[in-house]
């Protein structure tokens, strides 16, 4: 199966000690490292920092929505001295644009692929490192310029102003908005850099997973995390070039005078009429052709990780391993033909709405199958109620809400009403925050001992979970109601509209909840950094888990395994009758063939 696998030669204990990773200096160890774990930790730290930045943008948005045009406390006078400490409409546009851009491109996508993909893929398949370690390092070093570009997009000209979707013509014509002058160009450079960074990652992941599995690690013995990462990497490899080239087309429209997206004769702010010949809808098609699959890029890895963690915390094999794999593949496949559901009201031929509607509604099916299988995994288990499990259960529970609210939007006629209202905002926050980020919180807690050698504090993590979970629901659930009431997104002030003026108190309530949620993250940061130095030491396998990463030392050395792993069975043999007096059966533990057949027959 793994004929190309070099791990047997490379991972032998003396073989690797000879390479002498301890000779590497500080710079090669911590900055320009080619070790997948260090790169993963670099991504993790950077994305967590960016999560704080994106969260502060969000709190600015919430401040304006709760108390429009009031002087912002603490930072208002410093950030907006010209406006008397108020958030101006331009600044508000910048805030939600950069909140979404940062959270999507600098947090959720890289924390799943860049951080956890890097940390887990080689370890879980029993490889010493990624297939292309230098490419891996480059992917992180392409990520940093993206942060600089997004930073420029935030401060220049008052900030990019076209939303994270960057729809033309607002984004293309320099006179359309203050932020469409140079800030938008920086924004596009930023997207290009993250695109290249993710592309390097995904090529690396595909190659590594296909070529470098340990002996005995057949495809259907891979943990679901690895399946999710593989499927995500494939999705990314096919979808991302579309966004990158669309971004370059938009850049050339802005800088080189082309007209891919600009029709003739448009006059913006008394500027000269455009020459034109282009079509703004083209951007929407290209953008969503990437950005819809991107929704699954932002979800599937979390689904995989949650499956692994749930099985471990319930001490039970995952329920329906193959259905889980196939439904992830189905989600990925269908994900490519549903982009049009973002465009029901866009002026696209209405008949197209029908096909997109059927595909979109059917994508709920694999999602439902996965949900039932997670519940099946918990059913009859012996649940360890620690913060990992709680965050995983929150993932499932919030995914149910986010998935069900998606059905409203899939329906073309209903979507025509709720499109671009707060209902949409509620829906995607339930998926991206409620599901993905709770999955990420669980994953941080779960794999922390592997990478830092120490345990995180469970009580603090539980407090963090409870506060975040309550704050999250109180912030985002009411958004469904706002959407039904017809409150449009991206409004700096809705109170002047007669049909929305009664929504002020509700928005204030949501802002208080968002502040609670935001301040709860202090617990996470504190727990993370204090545990790194003072947490109790963890052995190789503190959770009694089965998959290969727990077979390596904590933290694993350069080259990962001191003893080359050989895999004998799947990663979910918890509470197996073959496991003897313990309730888990590591993948490396030899079981005679006849007995293994018995287990497989289960």
């Amino acid at each position: 199966m793994s004929t190309l696998n070099p791990s047997l030669d490379h991972a032998s204990p003396h073989g690797h000690a000879g390479h002498g990773h301890h000779e590497l200096g500080f710079v090669r160890t911590y900055l320009f490292s080619t070790d997948h774990k260090m790169i993963g930790i670099q991504f993790l730290m950077t994305t967590l920092l960016m999560m704080l930045v994106g969260g502060l943008f969000a709190l600015g948005v919430r401040w304006q929505l709760a108390w429009p045009w009031e002087r912002m406390p603490f930072y208002g006078d410093k950030l907006f001295p010209g406006e008397g400490g108020q958030i101006s409409p331009e600044a508000y546009t910048m805030l939600f644009t950069m909140h979404a851009s940062v959270m999507t491109f600098l947090v959720v996508i890289p924390i799943l692929g860049g951080a956890f993909g890097n940390l887990l893929i080689p370890l879980q398949i029993g490889a010493p490192d990624m297939a292309f370690p230098k490419l891996n390092m480059l992917s992180y070093w392409f990520f940093l310029p993206a942060i600089v570009c997004f930073g420029m997009a935030t401060v220049i000209d008052g900030g990019a102003a076209a939303g994270w979707t960057s729809y033309p013509l607002l984004s293309v014509l320099r006179d359309a908005a203050p932020g469409s002058r140079d800030a938008q160009t920086w924004w596009l450079f930023g997207v290009t850099f993250v695109g290249v960074s993710s592309m390097m990652g995904s090529i690396n992941y595909i190659t590594t997973i296909i070529n470098m599995r340990a002996p005995g690690m057949t495809l259907f013995r891979m943990p679901l995390t690895i399946w999710a990462m593989l499927i995500t990497a494939i999705l990314q490899a096919f979808a991302l070039p579309v966004l990158t080239s669309a971004g370059l087309m938009q850049l050339s429209d802005r800088l080189l005078g082309t007209c891919f997206f600009i029709p003739a004769g448009v006059i913006v702010n008394n500027a000269a009429p455009t020459v034109g010949g282009g079509q703004p809808l083209l951007w929407q098609h290209l953008f969503w052709f990437y950005s819809h699959p991107a929704v699954y890029i932002m979800l599937l890895p979390a689904m995989g990780m949650v499956s692994d963690m749930l099985a471990c915390m319930c001490r039970k094999p995952i329920f329906g391993y193959k259905p889980m794999v196939f439904s992830m593949a189905t989600i990925a496949g269908l994900g490519f033909i549903v982009w049009g559901h973002h465009m029901y009201a866009s002026g696209m031929n209405p008949a197209l709405g029908m096909t997109f509607m059927v595909a979109t509604i059917m994508i709920a099916l694999p999602s439902a199958i996965k949900t039932f299988n997670w519940i099946g995994t918990m059913w009859g288990g012996r649940l360890q109620f620690n913060a990992v499990l709680l965050n995983c259960v929150a993932f499932v529970s919030m995914f149910v809400i986010g998935g069900l609210s998606g059905i409203f939007m899939a329906a073309v006629p209903v979507d025509v009403y709720i499109h671009d209202t707060y209902f949409i905002v509620a829906h995607f926050h339930y998926i991206l925050f409620g599901s993905t980020l709770f999955g990420v919180f669980a994953a941080i807690q779960f794999w922390f001992p592997k990478f830092f050698g120490r345990m995180m504090n469970d009580t603090v993590a539980k407090c963090h979970f409870v506060l975040t979970f309550i704050g999250f629901n109180l912030t985002f659930f009411p958004m469904h109601l706002l959407g039904i009431a017809g409150m449009p997104r991206r409004y700096a002030d809705y109170l002047h509209l007669p049909y929305l003026e009664h929504l002020g108190p509700m928005n204030q309530f949501m802002t208080y909840a968002a502040m609670l949620m935001g301040s709860a993250q202090i617990l996470l940061i504190g727990n993370f950094f204090l545990s790194m130095f003072f947490g109790p030491k963890a052995g190789r396998n503190p959770w009694h888990a089965n998959s290969l990463e727990w077979f390596a030392p904590s933290p694993p050395p350069h080259g990962n395994f001191d003893v080359p792993p050989i895999v004998y069975h799947g990663p979910y043999e918890y509470s197996s009758p073959l496991s003897g007096d313990k309730d888990y059966l590591p993948q490396t533990e030899y079981v005679p063939l006849a007995q293994r057949r018995q287990v497989d027959a289960h």
Partner: protein, 276 residues
């Protein structure tokens, strides 16, 4: 013991979500206005919404109850020390929970096709419809152009056209069309009370047709980000009975073409320029 509390915690969250869903309309946060849609398609949209809502609520309750049950049982097992069940799944269950949701979802997809088809595909632009006005969005207002009473709307502005800003008037009781354009960036024509939404795309003239069923004043807002003043593209749609609408058109033409010096206002029959 802690485990059962957590199971309760998750069940309470689900219960609160359910309560909030149904408390919304009671607290005045439901569909805008009195909660009813005043176009023919709006009524269909609302009934579809309610159908989906009920299906979703049933599925939500079922899933959350199952989740609560397994959490509760799992907590019990953890305290009593009962070992976890060793099972890799159940093919029969997989088939059941594939087929049933598939049937429900397919039903939903096919059931609502008809509504969309009736309003946007079979009759994308009903031939009999009068195009009452051209609505041109721009940063940050709505400019509306009506033809002179008794004349059809020309694709290009005519000298005798009547113009208003942020004030769209349409007759009730019959289906009418508007031509939606934008002068600069993308906008979206959104009338929440009427459940109408259509993006205005640069370079395109998009026909939007609807049938308002009740006279009244409705808010018209922009639903697609169009610049810093996106939030303030506030206008109104005034739906009026047929005769009032015609009278208003005559009167506004008089107001527009009377310069205050010459007393005679152009009648609809003797407009300044009828050549086309």
């Amino acid at each position: 013991m802690g485990g059962k509390l957590w199971a309760l915690f998750f069940m309470l969250t689900a219960l609160a979500a359910l309560a909030a869903t149904f408390a919304g309309p009671l607290l005045g946060v439901g569909f805008p206005g009195d909660g009813r849609a005043y176009t023919t398609i709006g009524v269909k949209i609302d009934s579809l919404f309610m159908l989906i809502l009920w299906i979703v609520v049933v599925v939500f309750i079922g899933t959350q109850l199952a989740l609560g049950y397994v959490l509760w049982k799992g907590a019990e097992a953890a305290t009593t020390g009962r070992p976890a069940q060793f099972s890799h799944g159940n093919p029969t269950l997989e088939v059941i929970w594939t087929i049933i949701p598939a049937a429900i979802l397919l039903f939903l997809a096919i059931y609502q096709m008809d509504v969309w088809a009736e309003y946007r595909i079979k009759t994308m632009i009903p031939k009999a419809n009068e195009v009452v006005a051209e609505v041109t969005a721009r940063q940050f207002e709505w400019r509306i152009r009506y033809p002179q009473a008794g004349k059809p709307l020309g694709l290009r502005p005519q000298p005798d056209d009547v113009h208003t800003v942020n004030d769209l008037r349409v007759p009730v009781g019959r289906s009418v069309s508007i031509n939606l354009r934008t002068e600069d960036v993308q906008h979206s024509f959104f009338v929440p009370h009427l459940r109408i939404k259509q993006d205005a795309v640069p370079g395109k003239v998009i026909p939007v047709w609807f049938h308002v069923t009740k006279a009244g004043e409705y808010d018209l807002v922009c639903a697609e980000l169009c610049g810093w003043g996106h939030y303030k593209m506030k206008a109104r749609v005034l739906a009026m009975p047929e005769d009032e609408f015609q009278a208003w058109k005559k009167q506004i033409a008089v107001e527009q073409f009377t310069d205050g010096v010459t007393a005679a206002a152009p009648d609809s029959n003797q407009t300044p320029n009828t050549a086309e």
